[in-house]
Amino acid sequence: MGHPGFVISREDWSLHPKGRLDQARHQQKVKEAIRRNLADLVAEESIILSDGKKVVKVPIRTLEEYRFRFDPGKQRHVGQGTGDERPGDVVARDAGGAAPGREPGAGDQPGLDYYEAELSVDELAEMIFEDLGLPNLQEKRKPELVSTGHEFNDVRRRGAMANLDKRRTLMEAFRRNALRGRPAFDPITPEDLRFKTWDEAIEMQAAAVVLAMMDTSGSMGTFEKYIARSFYFWMVRFLRTRYRQVQIAFIAHDTRAREVSEQEFFTKGESGGTKCSSAYELALALIQQRYPPDQYNIYAFHFSDGDNFPSDNARCVKLVQELLECCSAVGYGEIVNSRYATDSTLMSVYGKIDDPRFVRVAIREKSDVYPALRAFFRRQATDLAAAAVAQAPPGPWR
């Protein structure tokens, strides 16, 4: 259909996936960038203090296409006004203020210097937890935690009539009839029949309990509490999404320890002195009463600023060792505030405990929370030798 000077054509472009392919690569890079920023995101206030449902905006600077360009804020722009403007009139405000819409000026949007990815907290959690697990998990004998089920996951030509896969059977009949030149559902012959069959799914779910202990004494300031809360926020989220059977007991302590609800644990005000041993004692008591070690994998975590009564330290060491005897792992996180330059006594005292299942972590700033999570929830082989090897610094989280 040639015409003088032009041709109009419409072709099949369905094999032109280029844009989609590169789009996928871009999104992959976005994810990588987010992963690199995880350390910052984990302690992001808007997430920790949220209801956990919101969508967060994640600034990803690495995906900006950087080049030599003029500073848009220092350029003279030209735009179209309404005719009422006089020199000196303020006509727009920069982004960051409430003003919606674009900045003025010819040219592409100036000043927008990062790309924002939107993520739900769940997606973020998925990335954070990707390769985390409960360390030293062992099968215990509590029966309710061994889950079995039937999974219909295969189709065969023979089986019980009760398991007939009607849809597939009809499709087969239709296909066979169509091949013979008569597209219809009947007749259905025996060879068209398809049956669902199942596998028995046996999932060995080990029972686990986490004893979350937190110092709520007067020396725990806003920052310290915030850090501990960020850690437990993600820990609880992680455990709840990964292990349905995990129980968590919350223990708050100053000089005395109390078991509290999750709600109280995260909102409790601070007061009083510090006696960490009280928390360990309560933990041991709980283990004895409710969580016999032969039935549960027990994980005890304790967060403190390390500002313990010195006379209590020796007792703490002894109790931690007792905990280690019945726990799969014990973690101690110390939030180091720059106000106290010296190494805390508790942290250094615990240095004496030589057990691969005992993990100590010092947290100095928000971005340390993520490495701490990784240090505690490193997925490990069950034998202790492997655990000891994994004691090395956490993986490439930067």
Partner: protein, 518 residues
């Protein structure tokens, strides 16, 4: 569009082509491709139906497609400057919309064929870019996707740093054996040689003021956001002038010995491609391809306002003279209005360019008393004049020579500056506004950066200089672009620019950044 509508469009186009020719438009053979949105937007993101893969294109594609899906903006067509000229029309357009688009596109094709700035463009650009894509894909296979991506990241970051002008003094003698102090090789002399002298005598800052430059791409809701990336004329010299591998001045330069390059080199990408000792042959090849493509897109950046104005002018004229049904006439009017709607505090290139061409035509057709006496216009030359303008100008000249006081006032153009986080009207005076706009369009709105010394400090480091003309660089971007230069150069890189009135040297040595105020 249904098949019946396609036939109708064909009949329409046949008539339109005849009429456009009769009006004096001179366009390439046209190839109209009716494509689905996916394809149109990928052509928009890549700038070409087939181009090499890079995530930045995917990012652009995603953004444009999302805006389309959410009905935020719509591209009606895309034109590729090639011979024959390919125009992509959206299958989802109504027949009436595609009719207007055809009229619009014919004028784009005429512009590509006749504007001087496009004279150097290869007619086989589509084939060339497809070949590039294939070659880069082969490099990916051989050297790994990651290695190619890293290289492209760096190359694309510098793709705007090319010398887009098809004429100019040779940047550096090819003859590498030239002794220091030797005479420059004789060139045929022309009556304009003193202009080059001007550049040298005045130094960068003053000479640059008179330099012509061009428009920023403004992808906007509307018709035809030209490809977002850099653009350029394809020079015949797209072949890299290869030097022998590993070339370097034979001995370390003693203090006071000749510089390298002898004169500041405007084409950063070419300089790196030729002189980096760090790059392997395939990497040089990739740089050469990226550079060639950048040069192809460049004239489109420099003529955005003119090109869109010209196409808008002509679709308006051609549609006006068609006999249309009531419904169709209304649809055209609505579409035209949305194309030329003003953007608050921004510029709509379609509107500005269209108004400028109309104003030029009116002035040369029926000159005012002032134009008659000052410019000696006899009148009756309206059409002739706009054809001349579309041939001889780029956006900077278009604005500088033809933006009149009455037009600035009619369009309520203002210049704006930022104070703190507020944007203030700086001026409503027509000359200030005109000059501010011309300055913004200069060099496509891209800073001019030259290679000052390819052996800085005698250590093979690279010293760049920003030709400061009153607009400061974005330091945030600057410090993130230098590592790309380093990736290509393989040794520490430095850039000299002016920050708040002071000379500052930005350095990157592969690990950390340094700023020194000179």
């Amino acid at each position: 569009m249904t098949d019946r509508e396609l036939l109708e469009l064909e009949r329409w186009t046949e008539r339109l082509v005849r009429r456009a020719r009769a009006e004096g438009l001179d366009f390439y053979e046209m190839r109209f491709e009716v494509v689905p949105a996916d394809v149109l937007y990928s052509v928009g993101a890549y700038g070409m139906p087939t181009r090499f893969s890079h995530w930045s294109f995917g990012k652009a594609f995603h953004r444009m497609k999302t805006e389309y899906d959410y009905n935020l903006s719509r591209i009606y067509e895309l034109v590729v400057n090639s011979d024959p000229c390919y125009a992509f029309l959206l299958d989802g357009n109504t027949l009436a919309q595609n009719k207007l688009v055809v009229a619009h596109v014919l004028a784009h094709s005429d512009f590509f064929k006749n504007n001087w700035r496009f004279a150097g463009t290869s007619h086989f650009v589509m084939d060339n870019m497809a070949a590039h894509a294939e070659r880069i894909a082969r490099y990916e296979f051989r050297y790994g996707k990651e290695a190619v991506e890293r290289l492209l990241d760096a190359a694309l970051a510098l793709a705007e740093q090319v010398d887009p002008h098809p004429v100019g003094p040779p940047s550096e003698p090819d003859d590498e054996d030239e002794e220091p102090g030797a005479l420059e090789p004789a060139r045929p002399s022309t009556p304009y040689d003193d202009l080059w002298e001007l550049d040298r005598r005045l130094g960068p800052s003053q000479a640059a003021e008179g330099r012509d430059l061009a428009a920023t791409p403004t992808p906007r809701p509307g018709q035809r956001p030209v490809q977002g990336r850099s653009a350029g004329v394809t020079l015949q010299s797209s072949e890299p002038r290869r030097r022998s591998e590993g070339h370097r001045e034979t001995v370390r330069r003693p203090p006071g010995a000749r510089r390298h390059p002898i004169r500041p080199e405007r084409d950063l990408l070419r300089f790196i491609m030729q002189h980096s000792e760090y790059l392997e042959a395939w990497q040089r090849d990739v740089l050469a391809m990226v550079r060639e493509e950048a040069l192809y897109f460049w004239p489109q950046i420099e003529t955005k306002i003119m090109n869109e104005g010209w196409a808008t002018y002509w679709h308006a004229i051609l549609m006006r003279d068609e006999e249309l049904g009531e419904a169709e006439a209304l649809e055209f009017a609505r579409m035209h209005a949305s194309v030329v709607q003003p953007y608050r505090l921004q510029l709509n290139p379609y509107l500005l360019g269209w108004k400028l061409f109309q104003s030029i035509e009116a002035r040369w057709e029926c000159p005012s008393e002032e134009d008659r006496t000052r410019l000696g216009l006899p009148g009756g030359q309206g059409r002739e004049k706009i054809f001349e303008v579309r041939q001889l100008e780029t956006d900077v000249g278009f604005i500088r020579n033809y933006l009149t006081r009455s037009l600035v006032e009619e369009l309520h153009l203002v210049s704006l500056v930022r104070r703190g986080d507020e944007w203030q009207v700086e001026s409503t005076g027509w000359q200030e506004v005109r000059d501010a706009l011309a300055a913004r369009l200069a060099n496509g709105g891209i800073p001019v950066i030259v290679v000052e010394d390819g052996d800085y400090g005698g250590k093979g480091e690279l010293l760049l200089r920003h030709q400061y003309e009153g607009q400061e660089l974005d330091l945030h971007h600057l410090e993130r672009t230098l590592p790309y230069v380093f990736d290509l150069w393989g040794r520490p890189v430095h850039l000299m620019t002016t920050v708040e009135g002071k000379q500052a040297l930005f350095s990157y040595d592969g690990e950390s950044h340094h700023r020194t105020v000179v």
